[in-house]
């Protein structure tokens, strides 16, 4: 258990900022209990970008909500700099963890102008005067690349990319340590997405930010994440240093995710693992918890897969997976 909780991408000098221990969140749906998180352990080190990837329903947003304190776990603990923040957190603690959500069309209040939107977190988390708050709003807008002249504008006058910059400015306003980025670019065009990704990288360097980057699209995090955590139905099925996880996917689900990415060049195509798509995956029932959660969709399942949920095992010091028939051995023999 403790070995699992240790962060994979070391530099030992980076202290652990957030430690998540065996976090579980159950939801009751009718008479059924669904575990959105089925015991997730994770360390996030200061200044790093940890990507959490998975399909809809994998629990990635639930994990983000736990870290934000929007939702409470059924069991497990969340520690921030060693302090437990699972159940309660004070204003300062809330200040230190901020969020940027997916759709900038629904997360900015349409009845407030940009100044009002950005002033609120400043007013809550600092004792700046009205004038100082206004100056800070102008400064924040400049930081994210929106003209301060837009201060009195309303969100509907902005493009999607500009709105997402404002959402980012709002997250930066209380000077946080951590920003949970929940699909921050998935509603944007690629050319705009590229700009937001660049901005995120610049801001991280400038303000020593720690990111939890939630996405369903692995390709987006290839170039910005230090570590990638793959979730499937509430379980961590693979995690590792980004380059390793992409070049050598071990869990079958990670292989499937990678092979589904539509790529634009031959070298990328060569990186994608092969996957048999022709099997029927429609109408699969969630597995009951006595077996590997991916079993109903996995064409590589063996008898062993039905014997309990596979634990995370380390393939290398920086790469873990929870697959009983991992891809490695076979891929080594390929060609």
């Amino acid at each position: 258990m403790t070995s699992v909780a240790e962060s994979l991408v070391p530099p030992a000098e980076d202290p652990v900022l957030i430690r998540i221990e065996d976090l579980r969140r159950d939801f009751t749906v009718g008479s059924r209990t669904v575990s959105a998180l089925a015991g997730v352990s994770l360390d996030i080190r200061r200044g790093q970008t940890v990507a959490v990837v998975g399909e809809s329903g994998s629990g990635k947003t639930t994990l983000g909500n736990q870290i934000l304190g929007i939702d409470r776990p059924t069991s497990g603990r969340i520690l921030f700099e060693g302090r437990e923040i699972t159940a309660t957190r004070d204003t300062d603690m809330r200040r230190r963890i901020q969020v940027v959500q997916q759709s900038p069309y629904t997360t900015l209040n349409p009845k407030r102008n940009l100044r009002q939107i950005l002033e609120l977190p400043i007013a809550i988390h600092s004792d700046r005067s009205r004038r100082q708050r206004r100056d800070r709003v102008a400064e924040l807008l400049e930081i994210v690349g929106v003209s301060a002249d837009f201060m009195e504008r309303y969100p509907y006058t902005l493009s999607g990319g500009q709105r997402q910059r404002v959402a980012l400015a709002r997250a930066l306003a209380p000077e946080p340590d951590v920003i949970v980025l929940d699909e921050p670019t998935s509603s944007l065009d690629v050319s705009v997405q590229a700009r937001i990704l660049q901005l995120l990288v610049e801001l991280q360097a400038q303000y020593q930010l720690t990111y939890l980057f939630i996405t369903h699209d692995l390709s987006v995090v290839r170039n910005i994440a230090d570590e990638v955590v793959v979730l499937y139905r509430g379980y961590v099925v693979e995690r590792g240093a980004t380059a390793e996880l992409f070049s050598n996917p071990l869990h079958r689900y990670n292989a499937m995710l990678l092979s589904s990415i539509p790529v634009v060049s031959e070298p990328e195509e060569a990186l994608k693992p092969s996957w048999e798509w022709d099997g029927s995956v429609v109408g699969v029932e969630p597995s009951v918890g006595a077996a590997c959660p991916f079993l109903p969709r996995c064409p590589h399942a063996v008898a062993l897969c039905e014997q309990g949920v596979p634990p995370l095992v380390a393939e290398t010091p920086t790469h873990q997976h929870a697959c009983r028939n991992p891809r490695s051995s076979e891929s080594a023999h390929r060609e």
Binding site: S56, S159, V190
Partner: protein, 322 residues
């Protein structure tokens, strides 16, 4: 290579009168689809790709719009077609797969009701019972095992991937000649998108339908289409066989769009395209990409759609390759 185009769009212009002035949304769009051919129309939000699709489906009309140009389906002029005429064309000879399967299916009718209606529309002689049988068969054909349960369900009771399959089935059930697919699967998970595209490919192949795929995703273009049109600000800026376009994109916009795609190979951050999409009420004169183009120069003007190599056409005065 495609002797007789089945769908032809010629010099299409769309103008919309707005408070801000007249927006010139489509600025002379021409494209064609060969029988059974898979063609992509790729571009970013607001470039006019969906407007082009909606006009081809006869779904774009309004008092504040004017549409000029020619759209023909197997020789039939579609722009001159009235509502009555469209009833025999839409859903039978040309059909559409919409982006958001949750929004495209009617929430107050069961999937069965909607499929049966589509089937009987295409073949009015069919009884309800026969149509129901055909609907169930069609669903089993797209690997939906419990077809009867799905037919009795309302769209909101089913997953997005399942709804997408139903939409595709519905679009193809009358064996149309052309399917217009607007971002199929892009509202869904990548794994579901992959399966959606595979299914589209298999079914349209089987029926012999040509596909006009509207997408913003170059990766999707590469896996799905045989030929590509790249659109920017209401203009087709490049046309090529898919393999050729990815091998040697010629237009600076195509090159910039490719550079903006995040790569799995991890060679650094994707590159943004500087500047903004132009204002349609006051677009730049001549090449509309010029204000954002790293290669722009005085000689740019209004470039023709030249064909520097057979089958590869580009609207740029500079001769680019690679």
């Amino acid at each position: 290579m495609n002797a007789d185009p089945i769908l032809t769009v010629e010099d299409l212009h769309l103008r919309i009168r707005q408070f801000e002035g007249e927006a010139h949304i489509l600025n002379g769009v021409s494209l064609h689809l060969g029988a059974g051919e898979r063609v992509a129309l790729v571009g970013e939000s607001g470039c006019g790709k969906s407007s082009t699709a909606l006009i081809a489906m006869g779904l774009m009309n309004g008092g504040n719009m004017s549409i000029d140009g020619r759209v023909t389906l197997e020789g039939t002029d579609l722009l001159g077609l009235g509502e009555r005429g469209w009833r025999n064309v839409r859903g039978r000879q040309i059909s559409m797969v919409f982006q958001d399967p949750g929004a495209a299916l009617n929430p107050v009718f069961t999937v069965g009701d909607q499929l049966v209606t589509a089937i009987r529309r295409g073949d009015p002689g069919t009884s309800r019972a026969e149509a129901h049988e055909r609907a169930a068969e069609a669903l089993r054909h797209v690997h939906i095992v419990d077809a009867e349960r799905v037919l009795a369900s309302y769209p909101f009771q089913l997953s997005g991937g399942l709804n997408q399959r139903i939409l595709i089935t519905m679009a193809l059930v009358n064996r149309p000649r052309v399917v217009v697919a607007d971002e199929p699967g892009s509202a869904l998970d990548v794994t579901v998108q992959e399966q959606t595209l595979r299914l589209m490919k298999a079914l349209t192949d089987e029926v012999g339908a040509a596909v006009l795929l509207i997408t913003h995703n170059l990766g999707v273009v590469r896996t799905f289409a045989q030929r590509v049109y790249v659109m920017y600000s209401g203009t087709i800026v490049e046309e090529a066989e898919t393999a050729r376009l990815f091998e040697a994109p010629r237009h600076p916009y195509t090159q910039a769009l490719l550079a903006a795609v995040p790569r799995l190979t991890g060679e650094g951050l994707p590159q943004p395209i500087p500047g903004q999409v132009p204002d349609y009420t006051d677009p730049p004169v001549g090449c509309r990409f010029q204000p954002r183009c790293p290669h722009a120069r005085a000689a740019c003007g209004n470039p023709p759609f030249a064909e520097p190599e057979p089958g590869h056409r580009v609207r740029c005065v500079l001769d680019f390759s690679g």
